[in-house]
């Protein structure tokens, strides 16, 4: 399977093998390369592709880490990163990403149905676990808040995002868009517009109109 993984990912990624001390180094570590590529695709709004790149990563495929590849980095966070990308793709696609192959995605060995609410709940649990151990990591906190908002727990979501916004620590346009939607729902129009302005600044150029236009107010 390892050879198959390498062939598939080599075609997708075309990343050179370089020493692990180098930035974005892979040195045959297809898992690290896959996770890095999935993070990039997620950032570009390509949710399905991001998840597609992760499908052979053991923690996504089997629900457990499995045997590390021979050249794997000593990166204890790699499985968590893979799960975060998958969970973020689920939340940001409003659960629709779970159709097709991704419906095999599982946690702790329990195969999920692929239904929207279940998928959102799964994603929220991923972030909740991270949130417990990384209390003051803005990227983790904001992803957890996005999942809470998608699940309808808006007060909790807004509390987290307002705290980050007040400290100027929201790192992602999607999180700004979520805060804008939450403020809008609470009747804070000025706050909504301010959050959208931040969203537009922090979004990649081509992503701004898609993420920060307010088309999916919650």
């Amino acid at each position: 399977m390892c050879i198959l993984h390498r062939l598939v990912l080599a075609a997708v990624l075309s990343l050179p093998g370089i020493s692990p001390a180098c930035m974005n180094g892979s040195d045959g570590d297809w898992e690290s390369a896959a996770v890095a590529e999935a993070e990039k695709l997620l950032d570009e709004g390509n949710y399905a592709k991001a998840v597609g790149v992760l499908l052979n990563v053991p923690v996504i495929k089997n629900g457990s880490a499995g045997d590390p590849p021979k050249f794997r980095f000593d990166d204890p966070d790699l499985d968590a990163r893979a799960l975060r990308v998958a969970a973020a793709a689920v939340v940001r696609s409003s659960g629709t990403i779970s159709r097709g192959a991704f419906s095999r995605l599982s946690v702790n060995g329990h195969v999920r149905s692929g239904e929207r609410d279940d998928q959102i709940a799964w994603a929220k649990e991923i972030f909740a676990g991270d949130y417990k151990v990384k209390l003051d990591d803005p990227s983790v906190s904001s992803l957890f808040a996005e999942a809470l908002a998608a699940e309808g727990r808006r007060v909790e979501a807004r509390t987290i995002l307002e705290d980050l916004a007040q400290r100027d620590l929201i790192a992602d346009s999607y999180s700004w868009a979520t805060l804008a939607a939450l403020r809008n729902r609470a009747g804070d129009v000025a706050g909504r517009d301010a959050a959208f302005a931040k969203c537009r600044a922090s979004a990649k150029r081509l992503m701004s109109s898609r993420v920060c236009a307010g088309g999916s107010m919650q």
Partner: protein, 391 residues
Amino acid sequence: MIVRPGTAAAALFLVMASAANSAEDGASLFARFECNRCHRIERAPDPPLEKQCLGCHERILSGAFNAPADLLSHWQGRLTSLTAVPSLIGTSKRFKRSWLADYLMDPVDLRPALPATMPRLRLKREDAERLAEFLAPADTPDPVPAGNPANGRKRFETLGCGACHRFSGADASSSVPPPMAVDPAALARGIALAPDLRYTRERFRRESLALWIRDPASFKADTPMPALPMSPIDAADLAAWILTSPLAQAPAATVPKPLPLLEREIRWPEVEERVFKKICRHCHADAAFAFGDGGPGNTGGFGFPARGFNLATYQGISSGIRDRDTGRRMSVFAPGPDGTTPLIVAAMLARHAEIAGRPDSAVRGMPLGLPPIPLEEIQKVATWISLGRPR
């Protein structure tokens, strides 16, 4: 002998360092501040390759680093800092303990041709004194130099010492090359590592200087300083001149003023390419970089705690930095100590002040120990922040 990682000697060093941790003696401080990321020393093991600044750069320059040829070539063309670093071999025979402690607390630009300087570490005075104790024995009274300074000045010129050394503030000139064939690579390394002789009188043990001048390799096996043909009397004369020559006061360096904000749009890709990716990311990398070591500016190192500062991505820089005391995240775009300049810009400007000899006690200059970021690039970062940090 250099202690290599994975050897019994390395294990013994670590055991000794950790056993002494309660008292934090020099050996454990040396380990904690990771001095051997840059400096080689015979009494401590080299760290793993991914934590070595010099070892990594040496391998890149020699082509021995495991990377594709085109990438290696790209790096080789850009690599300027930390390609030569003075080793700490034989310090106990050369240096004054008092100077070492002062230097660690307040590093000066000791080697004018070397792009990097000793970084300002987070040292307490007692830490610096214990580190100095580890590196050098107790100071002894300075003997009066025995040589003839006037003859020493002439020998400085005829021996070509000025081919490598600057002696700022002294009436010194030397345009002649050394009176012996010197390998060009060795000469380049010698020029890079040669200290300004202005500091020798505080730095060097007086009783050792003449001996060092005659036979430097007997003190420090890897020194690039050649053994020049000279008599013991010439060496004593040179030492006397270096130790007693009148020195003009160093000219007061001025701290350059920041440039005004630009009147054009600046987005993330421009500052990422010009500043963060080019310079900062070496120490403030993604936490997964290099076997889980995100660099001293992220996962900790050089005695600094893990601040969680990742400049590899837009999300990373926007996620801020852990406060040194509370551990709570704070934005690096928040105003710094002057109340207006964003913290990250203040740190870049503080490096200019450090180079001018006016360190800011409230802000550590960045990049740590490296040449300051050009004002034109800082101007771009400041403009980008003022525009709301557009992606």
